[in-house]
Amino acid sequence: MVRVRIFPLLAAMSVSLSACAGVGGEGFGYGGYSLIRPKEVRVGDNSMAVTPLREWNKISARIFTDIRDVEDWTQNGPYLDGISFVTGLKDGKALVYQRSQDDRQVPKFRSNMTAPEIAAILESLFRVRGGAIEYKVTALAPRPFLGVSGFQYDYEHLDSDEVRRKGRAVGAVVDGKLYLILFDAARSHYYNALLPDFEAIVQSARRV
């Protein structure tokens, strides 16, 4: 149902809610992974293209959502690592599908937001939808992205499944829309192992 694989934990949650995967937990009910080849590929709403260094698994989009603009990849499954692409998120939209009556909500994006405000959206995303219990910003600094002035955001979190994760987002607002690539992975091993791949993807990103 909910197209919420903005980061690993959400995937697990959306499955358990939609498919009643049950207490087994292991083995998601996703039918849908497709292979991404190591060559230039368009992501999200196709307004951005990236070139990965190796093959990735794309998690297929789920229906009825206002965030067609988000696409998710993983190497070892969403519990361990994931890359999310946000492509042209419009003013007034949130990064995940949510109902107006949800008690806790991921804040909406606004065109006039500064980098700290966008970073704050990501923090609430992890707290509200990812079960982050402890969350720490490690760096927020200017970084060009897609040829404009953007930012790099580094953070760590301890989640309700007692796993420590670490992430980096590189993003920018272009023509009032949010473009962002987010990498989030288990802190032990997976983050460092995949960071060079993430960096290569960010370097290769271009608007099309």
């Binding site: 934990l9 697990a12 949650m13 358990s16 809610l17 009643c20 995967a21 049950g22 207490v23 087994g24 937990g25 292991e26 107006s100 009556q101 949800d102 008690d103 806790r104 909500q105 991921v106 804040p107 909406k108 606004r110 006039n112 500064t114 980098a115 700290p116 405000e117 970073a119 704050a120 923090e123 609430s124 707290r127 509200v128 079960g131 219990i133 402890e134 969350y135 910003v137 490690t138 760096a139 927020l140 600094a141 200017p142 930012f151 580094d154 301890l158 989640d159 309700s160 499944d161 007692e162």
Partner: protein, 406 residues
Amino acid sequence: MSWSRRSLLAAGGSLAAASATGIAEARVLPKDMVPLIGPGYRAVDPDEKGMWQQMERVEEEVSGSNLLIKDPQLTSYLGDLIGHVGGPAAKDMRIYLARIPEFNAIMFPTGFAVVFSGLLLRMRNEAQLAGVVAHESAHFLRKHQLRQWRDMRRKTDIFSFVAIGAGLAGGVAGVYAGDLVQLGQLGTILSLLKYNRTIEAEADAMGVRLLAEAGYDPMAMSETWEQLIGELDLSAKYRRKRRDRSFTLFETHPSPDSRMADLKISAAEVRQPGKTYDAFRDRYLNALGSIRPTLLDDQVKLNDPGASQYVVETLAKDGWNGLLRFYEGEVWRLRNSSKLGDETRAAQGYAAAVAYPDAPPDAWRWHGIMLLKSGKRLEAHAAFARYLQLAPNAPDAALVRQMMNG
């Protein structure tokens, strides 16, 4: 492996929490509430022994969780508190403090309690916290979980009950959810399982008695309860719906009013006329030490604006300060409704916060951002400069410098 652990905890939570639901038809009198167990109590009957064995494994899992707050000053404070209001079994009880932003606390049948950090955030003083701890202790002293468990076994097959508990927890909280978090939110689920309504009334009556015996104002319990209801109502109102979340701590459905009335009458009964009670606010704030800002942060960033505003304003009843004004601004910034003028309200909150000497550095940064966005470059520059002066090693210093000069 993970399954067994999850189902174990879910079952533990079910047992612990199911006993906390229900409303009494007639008021239970505090004087009738004598403890059913003494110091050093151990399981007696074979079925009880089996349950204890299971609960000991649950406690092992809980005590090893990395979600616990292990600050020695705070944990020993909580230990002292339960030692104070825990009646005859006070020395046998254990408290674990979990960093989970939920208004909840759970007592397990073997005498260990899990207190969630969201509870500590919401308590205005030690008397209020002691009220919750007394209520939870009463469940243990009156052997509620055991009575509940036996009652349920009569009605259902225990295995199917366990499966139901685990299944509901998995379905509602999401299988992904960490065990403790699941426990914190379990009230929502277990309100479906209403069994013995008198149990909760007993815990109320005995709680006020324990509170009074320890020298606290027994009215503190109904205050806490009013805060819970007020918070749930405002949270629901802001999301344009009726209150639908219920909690194991104070199950309020179907008649919170009558339970509240009973609680107040009972408190009046055990209150000593003419005595002035100290709420021990200073001692409480001292024990919380430096974690209060973190607790506020954990709550406000969930972007549940009604609940967060209620919490901030409840704490502000004891006086506004820079910290509370800052988080007031944060509530509106995160809600971010242009129709309701939230950006302006947030800006006002930050501007108010920085007028206080205890304003956190973040208040200066957000004050600067709001000034920048409204075109006041010079004033923004000054606010950012103040931020960098207060937090020279801030992780976002480079970006703030860019905003200053950009």
